[in-house]
């Protein structure tokens, strides 16, 4: 198989040849741009993208830098952008990603570049650390294991399977606009401990994870579910934390209010009342935040995007109410 590999090169201490890439988005806007260098190589038909990169590194250009170790989706080293999406190079088949004979690989623009395909893991790992990803165990005799049902452990194997590769954060849409968002990887780890029957801090955890930049900042774009190589499905874990924290009564935050206001509006009128959604989400008495949202409201008005002032019910709204009754929960 003959392949053209277009590789994003980056070396902060040197000038490189090749086609200049786009500038990095904030907060890395001041970093030098990467360049794209094309390598033409021959590989066997079942080769992975990583095999191509290793081939270049060993036989064409020794200065190409790529993190890799296990070569089979275990160590989590080789997450990168392949044709603009986060993937593990070691388990992505070349023939599946070739477009017109070429494939493009690069470090993701959402992460601080270090060198070629290597990105800075610091902020990513720091997010994980900030969710306190460790067991605050309930009291137990030092000579005996905790007695817990196997199902409870089995439940957590999905999150423990996470190899911290970073693919999910690279492509997270919420992280793209807010770099303080804890992100899918850290929140999946958060769920792993919040749902561990041996943990004694569940309440504190649920409260913390509901704070700003936590579970309620996820926009359900599904990218993390889509790109995760280990089936961790971080979004699902985020939704589970949300459910657990609402059930535990941690509803005094924008996220829960938003969800409740959304549901209330649908229950009462059969459609979304966008005018009341924002103030209700921010908190009716949170004047400061409401004033802060005024400029965007004006912009919406100018662009003719403001919802109608008078909110109409849909016909047959009683049937919507019946649905709510049937589903049950806090709004019935």
């Amino acid at each position: 198989m003959h392949v053209k590999m277009v590789v994003g090169r980056y070396a902060p201490d040197r000038k490189l040849d090749g086609e200049l890439g786009a500038p990095y988005p904030p907060p890395y806007a001041d970093k030098p741009r990467k360049t794209y260098q094309t390598f033409e190589i021959d590989l066997h038909d079942e080769a992975m993208v990583l095999d191509g990169l290793i081939h270049i590194r060993e036989h064409v250009d020794e200065s190409l830098v790529v993190r890799c170790s296990c070569r089979c989706a275990i160590c989590g080293s080789c997450a990168m952008w392949i044709n603009g999406h986060a993937k593990l190079a070691c388990t992505t088949k070349m023939k599946d990603v070739i477009e017109n004979g070429a494939v493009r690989v690069e470090a993701p623009p959402s992460m601080m570049p270090v060198r070629d395909l290597v990105w800075d893991m610091g902020p990513f790992m720091e997010k994980m650390r900030s969710v306190k990803p460790w067991l605050e165990g309930k009291p137990v005799s030092p000579d005996e294991e905790y007695r817990v049902p196997n199902e409870a452990m089995d439940e957590l194997v999905q999150e423990v399977s996470c190899i911290s590769c970073g693919a999910c954060l690279m492509d997270c849409e919420s992280y793209a606009v807010n770099d303080k968002f804890l992100g899918p990887h850290a929140l999946a780890r958060a769920y792993r401990y919040a749902n561990d029957p041996r943990d004694s801090m569940q309440q504190e955890r649920l409260k913390e994870y509901s704070d700003p930049n936590g579970v309620w900042d996820c926009t359900h774009c599904y990218e993390c579910v889509h790109v995760c190589p280990k089936g961790v499905a971080p979004l699902e874990q985020i939704l589970k934390i949300r459910q657990m924290s609402v059930a535990a009564g941690y509803t005094n935050n924008a996220g829960t209010r938003h969800a409740l206001a959304f549901a209330e509006s649908v229950r009462d009128s059969g459609r979304l009342n966008e005018l009341t959604l924002m103030p209700k989400s921010l908190g009716l008495f949170n004047i400061k935040a409401q004033l802060q949202s005024l400029p965007s409201a004006f912009n919406l008005l100018r662009a003719g995007k403001l919802p109608p002032i008078i909110h109409h019910k849909i016909p047959g709204v009683t049937r919507v109410k019946a649905i709510f009754k049937k589903v049950g929960g806090p709004l019935t």
Partner: protein, 559 residues
Amino acid sequence: MIIDYDVLVLGAGLAGMRAALEAKRRGASVGVISKVHPLRSHSGAAEGGINAALDPGDSWEIHAFDTIKGSDYLADQDAVEIMCREAPRDLIEMEHMGVVFFRGPDGKLGTRAFGGASKARTYFVADITGQALLNALYDTILKEGVKTHDEWFATALYVPDGTCRGAVAIDMLRGELHLLRAKAVILAAGGMGRVYEPSTNALICTGDGHALAYRAGAPLMDMEMVQYHPTTLKGTGFLMTEGARGEGAYLTNKDGERFMQRYAPKMMELASRDVVSRSETIELAEGRGVDGCVFLDLRHLGAELIHKKLPQIHEIALNFLGLDMVEVPIPIRPGMHYIMGGVKTDPDGATPLAGLYAAGECACVSVHGGNRLGANSLLDTLVFGRRAGAHSADYVKSVKPLTTGEEFLKSEQQRIQALLDRPYKGETHARLRLELGTLMDEKVGVYRDEAGLEDALAKVRAIRTRARSVSVQDKGRIYNQALLFALELDYMIDCAEATIMSAIERKESRGAQARSDYPKRDDANWLKHILVTQTPGADPKISYLPVTITKWQPMERTY
């Protein structure tokens, strides 16, 4: 820059992190360096599980006997006793750190069967046991605030006046060399799988710890004992966990025959690794394989069990060979997997070099002797990691801080600079690595003989000479991987040399050392350890140590 710690831990796999945690808990100031982020350490690849005699129907004595028999009586029995006695406690401790071990119906820890063991005593988390342990330990060192320097690569140990006092390392992200000065150093740098090609080991397993100690004058022991795993995937050499056979998978030849009935009628597929690997090699040599492979047949286990208990190997076979093990047998062959030998230590992890400790795969206590049992090495990392951490923390209390080291750091900087400045003469680290690995697999593999070993030794020495002209074509400072690969190649050559020299020396067949020219075990002459020590300006020196026997006299080994 010079950074001071009481205890410097070199390596952040299970052994390193467990050692660091223990030393910290005992009040020492601890720094950990690792050439990859701790979570990327090779311990994460362990699939099958970890042994401990926890069940009331089991006992540490039976575990110890299995281990000693598995070792072909080369293990030191005092060390084995310690490991097997302390295993339950270390296992429970990991459970308390949050490992989501499989449970039985009563909510207590549950087991699976593993090769070479007379009881089911392997505890596991699906087929990601190593990763689950690694994650839990990493989480705990985060909780307890142990300082780690991630992506720092050690280039040399600092040994002024005959005691080990730290190491020099390259901070790869910034491209600078630093001296980490310490009162004691614990080596936990893992295995040397990449000295062989193919191998089940990750690309980072290049025997750095073995070589660093060797160069500092510490002896390497049992280095001829290289474990070939019986089930490694055709082509890439990826491991198909022994857990598969533990769950009941068959080994078959080209006629679909379960050939193990001819070699180990009692234990069948679950005989110990050296026995199964040799059986496969004979099947292949006698023409009952296909394309250099025999088969691992899981079909009768059913899709549900495979998906639930063995998802990882299912995925790997599917990904790399396009074969679904639910439907077809998987082609496998024996492949280099583990090094029983390593830096000689006592049961507290102390090496003969004062101030230097070692634990995990780079150490040789020796609990694995001629052949390690499956699921005993994770246990080894935890028990002896903890013990090395504890002992070193006590040891450093009586050691005075140093103010020297500047000179040494400078000389290391110059050595590395000289390597970077070497002109290109056509020799590359990649080519030499491949040559070295293929040579080792061919001549120092499952079966060995005098002629092949002597040939291998001469070739490895020639590779060493050629390696002196390898140049680094990346002239950058930041994340210079080519520089690392060149340094690793030197480490690998040291390991290869020690392995071959020990294999030539041992004129018998025991455990993983199967000499076709000396096919019998010879307790009268060779019930002893072989040690290799580097001597400046001369060939490495061979010496011997007796095997410690406590209550288990050597017997013939049948499965």
